[in-house]
C-alpha cells in the first residue's frame, strides 16, 4: 500500500529533517496530534527483513554509516591552529537510514539523573569550559522518560540508585550473560551495587513486537526480529498509520529557507537524482543529529543571518561532546561466549558523580560486554592483548580463547563542553553534493582524561576481582574515528546569548524553527545519551503541538 504523499506545492504543517532517535519521535507525535508532516531522510527506508548477519558489510564496509567512499568525507584536527585532514573513517559516525542510529546502536537506556541537570550550580564553574545548568530539571523530563520506557520499549528493573520514576519498566530485564555475572560478582565483592542494565531491546513481546532471540547481532547491526526498539520499528509505522506523515527517503536537506520577517518558510533538498526541490511548511523541526543539524544551520546563512541560521549566540556547532570511555578485557578459564545475546546485561553506577576531592569533574558507569563487539572479524583483528601475537601459529592458537573466553568491563564517562571542541564547515573538502564537509575540531579536556583513567582503574580492579587470569585495556578519548555520541552542538538554554534553543527547543532567533536531537544536550550525561534525546523529543513535541494548536508556531 502506498503511503501518504504531499506535493511540494502544498504547504505542510511541519517539515522534519531526520528520522532518527529524535526525528522519529517528532514524526509520530506531531502526526498523531493531527498535524501534516513531511520527514526528509537522506537514506533508505530499510525494513527489519533487510538486515543481515553480515559483519563485513556493516562493520568493515560501513553499509549503514557511510563515509568517504559514499561521497561523504570528513576532516579532523585537534585544535583550531591545525589544518584539518580527511580521515579514513568518519569521525562523526551515524547511520543513514530511516530510524537513524537507533537502528544500529547498542540500545543502552540509562536515564539521566537529577544531578545531570544542575551540576554547574552544585559544583561551580570549570575554567575554560561552557559547563552550565540545563534550563529544565529531571522532574520536567521524568514523564517523558517514562513515555520512552513504554512507547519506545525498554527492558529493565529499578536500580539501587535510580532517580524517582512514575512507573516501572514495561518489560523485565534481559537474561544475564556471563560477562554480566562476572561484573555482578566482582562488584558485590568490592562493595558496589551492580544491577541489570536497562536496554531498549524487548525481553518479552511489547506493542506488537516480538521478544529478542539473542542472536548477538545488535551492536552495529539492524535487528531483523524488530526486538531492538529503534525509531524505525517503534515510531515510524505509527506516524505513517496516521495518514498525515510522509517519509521522503533519499532526500538530503540542503538549506532551510527564511523570509524577510526572519521566519522559516520550508526546506530545500535534493532527491536521489540530485534534483533540487523546495518543501513549503508552516514550521521546521531539525532533528538531523549533533553533526548534521549544526552543519545545515551553518549552510543556511543569509544576509539576515550571516553567521548561519539560529546562530546569533555563535554557539551553533560549539560544545561538541562525545562521552569518553575506557575498556578493560579479562581472560577467563571457562567459556564466556560474550558473542551471544545483547551487548550488555549488568551495569555499575556507584561512580555516577566522582568525589570533587579527586580534583577533577566527572562521572559515569561501568558495564559488562564482549571484548570486541562480539563479532568474529573484530575479535580476530583486535580482541587480543596489544603485546600478544598478531599472526602466525601462536596467534592462531589464541583466537579461540579471545573469542569465547574473554569479557570486557567498559567505562562510559562525562565530557565537558568547550567552545574549542566543535563541528564546522571544512574550507576545502566537499561532499558529493558539493557542500563543505563536516570538520571536527576536538581535544579532550584534562578532566575528561582523568575521568576515563579513573574508570579504567576501577574496571581493572573489578576484572581482577572477577578472577581474570590476564587483564589488558586502554582509555579512548573522543575524536577517535567513528564517535557516535554527537552531543551539545545546538545547546538548550534560557539565555539567547549563550544557547541556540530555548527550553522547549524553539530556536531563539527563528520563531518557527525547532531543533531537537543530540545537539540539544547541555552536558554529556554519563555515556548513554539516546534515551534522553528521545525524552527531550517527546517533551518538545508536546509543547510544539500545544503551540501549534494555539497558532503560535
Amino acid at each position: 500500500m502506498a503511503g501518504t504523499t504531499f506535493p511540494n506545492s502544498e504547504s505542510v504543517d511541519f517539515v522534519i529533517i531526520g528520522s532518527g532517535a529524535a526525528g522519529g519521535v517528532m514524526a509520530r507525535e506531531l502526526s498523531v496530534a493531527g498535524f501534516t508532516v513531511v520527514v526528509l531522510e537522506q537514506g533508505p527506508h530499510l525494513k527489519s527483513g533487510d538486515f543481515r548477519h553480515d559483519e563485513w558489510a556493516y562493520k568493515n564496509q560501513q553499509e549503514l554509516t557511510w563515509g568517504a567512499i559514499q561521497g561523504h568525507p570528513q576532516t579532523f584536527r585537534s585544535t583550531e591552529d591545525d589544518t584539518a585532514e580527511v580521515t579514513q573513517r568518519a569521525v562523526l559516525s551515524y547511520a543513514h537510514n530511516v530510524g537513524g542510529s537507533s537502528v544500529h546502536f547498542a540500545a543502552n537506556y540509562w536515564r539521566f539523573r537529577e544531578v545531570d541537570f544542575i551540576e554547574r550550580s552544585l559544583l561551580g564553574p570549570i575554567a575554560g569550559t561552557n559547563f552550565a545548568d540545563w534550563p529544565i530539571t529531571y522532574q520536567d523530563l521524568e514523564p517523558y522518560y517514562t513515555k520512552v520506557d513504554w512507547e519506545i520499549g525498554v527492558s529493565g528493573i529499578e536500580g539501587p540508585s535510580d532517580p524517582p520514576r512514575s512507573k516501572g519498566y514495561p518489560c523485565p530485564p534481559m537474561p544475564v550473560k556471563s560477562p554480566g555475572v562476572l561484573l555482578e560478582r566482582a562488584g558485590k565483592k568490592l562493595g558496589y551495587q551492580p544491577y541489570p542494565a536497562p536496554v531498549a531491546i524487548l525481553s518479552q513481546p511489547h506493542n506488537g513486537r516480538a521478544a529478542c532471540m539473542h542472536c548477538g547481532f545488535c551492536w552495529g547491526f539492524g535487528c531483523e526480529a524488530s526486538a531492538k526498539s529503534s525509531s524505525m520499528v517503534a515510531m515510524i509505522p505509527q506516524a505513517e498509520a496516521t495518514g498525515r506523515c510522509e517519509i521522503r527517503t533519499y532526500c538530503t536537506a540542503s538549506r532551510i529557507e527564511t523570509n524577510e520577517a526572519g521566519r522559516a518558510t520550508g526546506v530545500v533538498y535534493w532527491d536521489t537524482d540530485g534534483v533540487e526541490h523546495f518543501q513549503k511548511s508552516n514550521a521546521v523541526v531539525l532533528s538531523a543529529n549533533g553533526a548534521e543539524s549544526p552543519r545545515l544551520l551553518l549552510l543556511s546563512e543569509s544576509s539576515r543571518f550571516p553567521d548561519g541560521l539560529a546562530n546569533s549566540s555563535g554557539m551553533v556547532g560549539k560544545n561538541l561532546m562525545f562521552n569518553g570511555w575506557s575498556w578493560t578485557v579479562g581472560l577467563f578459564e571457562q567459556p564466556v561466549n560474550a558473542y551471544k545475546s545483547i551487548p550488555t546485561t549488568r551495569v555499575i553506577h556507584d561512580f555516577y558523580s566522582l568525589d570533587p576531592s579527586l580534583g577533577h569533574y566527572g562521572g559515569g558507569g561501568i558495564d559488562a560486554r564482549s571484548s570486541s563487539g562480539g563479532t568474529p572479524i573484530a575479535s580476530a583483528s583486535y580482541a587480543g592483548p596489544p603485546d600478544g601475537p598478531q599472526w602466525g601459529e601462536a596467534y592462531k592458537q589464541s583466537l579461540r580463547e579471545m573469542f569465547t573466553h574473554t569479557a570486557a568491563f567498559v567505562g562510559h564517562t562525562t565530557s565537558l563542553p568547550l567552545s574549542s571542541n566543535n563541528v564546522s564547515l571544512d574550507p576545502t573538502v566537499r561532499d558529493r553534493w558539493g557542500r563543505p564537509a563536516l570538520r571536527t575540531t576536538y581535544q579532550d579536556h584534562p578532566h575528561d582524561i582523568s575521568t576515563m583513567q579513573f574508570f579504567k582503574d576501577r574496571s581493572d580492579e573489578l576484572m581482577a576481582a572477577a578472577g581474570a587470569s590476564r587483564i589488558w585495556g586502554a582509555v579512548a578519548g573522543g575524536g577517535t574515528p567513528e564517535s557516535q555520541h554527537l552531543l551539545g552542538t545546538c545547546r538548550m538554554g534560557n539565555d539567547p546569548g549563550s544557547s541556540v534553543v530555548d527550553k522547549f527547543h524553539r530556536s531563539h532567533d527563528v520563531p518557527n524553527l525547532f531543533i531537537c536531537d543530540g545537539s540539544s544536550l547541555v552536558t554529556s550525561g554519563r555515556g548513554q545519551p539516546t534515551m534522553t534525546i528521545q525524552a527531550l523529543a517527546f517533551r518538545a513535541a508536546d509543547h510544539i503541538a500545544a503551540a501549534g494548536r494555539r497558532g503560535d508556531v
Binding site: Q70, H214, N337, K340, S341, S379, K396, R400
Partner: protein
C-alpha cells in the same frame, strides 16, 4: 627511495589496509561470489602467480596445521572478490608492495617468489615487514576472509568460525556461557 613506498614502515599501523566496496558491490558479492569459492575457480583480478604469493602470505598469518588455516578456508578467493570490487586502488597497492618484496627476496635469498621460500624463511621475511602497510593489508584481508560470511568467498565451510568457536549466526537461549549457567544453578 621511491621503491620503498609500499614497504615503508607506517606510523599509523593500519592506515592503508582499507578496502572499500560500493554498496551495490557488497550486495552483489554477497550473492554471487558463492561460485568463486570453489577450489580452482578462476580469479577476477589475481594472476595465478599473484594468487600463489598472496595465499602463501595469508597461510603464514593463519597457518594450517592441526586445524585448517587461511589456505583451506579459501581466503584467497575472498581477497580476489573484494579487491575486484574495491574502489580505493587496493590491488595496485598490493601489487606494488609484492613487487618490492620480490626484489628484496631475490637479493637476500636468491628466490623468485615468496611462495618458493621454506617455512622458516617465509616467517623471517614477514617479520621483517611486520610494521608495513603492505603486511597490515594482507593481515586485514586474511582475517576478513577467514571470518566473514562464506558468501564472500572465504570462510569455506565456516572453517574460520569453527576455529574460534563461533557457532554460526543464529538465535540462542540461556545459558550462554559457563558463568551464567553457574549463576542460574546457584540461584544467585
Amino acid at each position: 627511495m621511491k621503491r620503498r613506498a609500499f614497504l615503508a614502515h607506517s606510523g599509523a599501523a593500519i592506515s592503508c589496509s582499507w578496502i572499500s566496496m560500493s554498496l551495490p558491490a557488497i550486495l552483489a558479492a554477497s550473492q554471487v561470489s558463492c561460485k568463486a569459492k570453489e577450489e580452482g575457480a578462476a580469479f577476477r583480478v589475481f594472476t595465478a602467480s599473484e594468487a600463489n604469493e598472496f595465499e602463501a602470505m595469508a597461510a603464514q598469518v593463519i597457518p594450517s596445521g592441526d586445524s585448517p588455516g587461511a589456505r583451506e578456508a579459501g581466503v584467497i578467493y575472498f581477497m580476489d572478490t573484494v579487491l575486484a570490487e574495491d574502489q580505493t586502488g587496493g590491488i595496485d597497492r598490493l601489487r606494488s608492495g609484492l613487487a618490492e618484496l620480490q626484489v628484496d627476496i631475490r637479493g637476500a635469498h636468491g628466490a623468485e617468489a615468496f611462495a618458493g621460500l621454506g617455512n622458516a624463511l617465509q616467517i623471517q621475511v614477514l617479520q621483517g615487514i611486520e610494521k608495513t602497510d603492505f603486511f597490515a593489508t594482507i593481515r586485514y584481508l586474511t582475517i576478513a576472509g577467514m571470518f566473514s560470511n562464506p558468501s564472500y568467498g572465504g570462510n569455506r565451510d565456516q572453517l574460520g568460525w569453527k576455529l574460534i568457536g563461533f557457532e554460526g549466526p543464529r538465535g540462542w537461549s540461556p545459558p550462554f556461557g559457563f558463568y551464567d549457567a553457574d549463576y542460574a544453578e546457584k540461584g544467585e
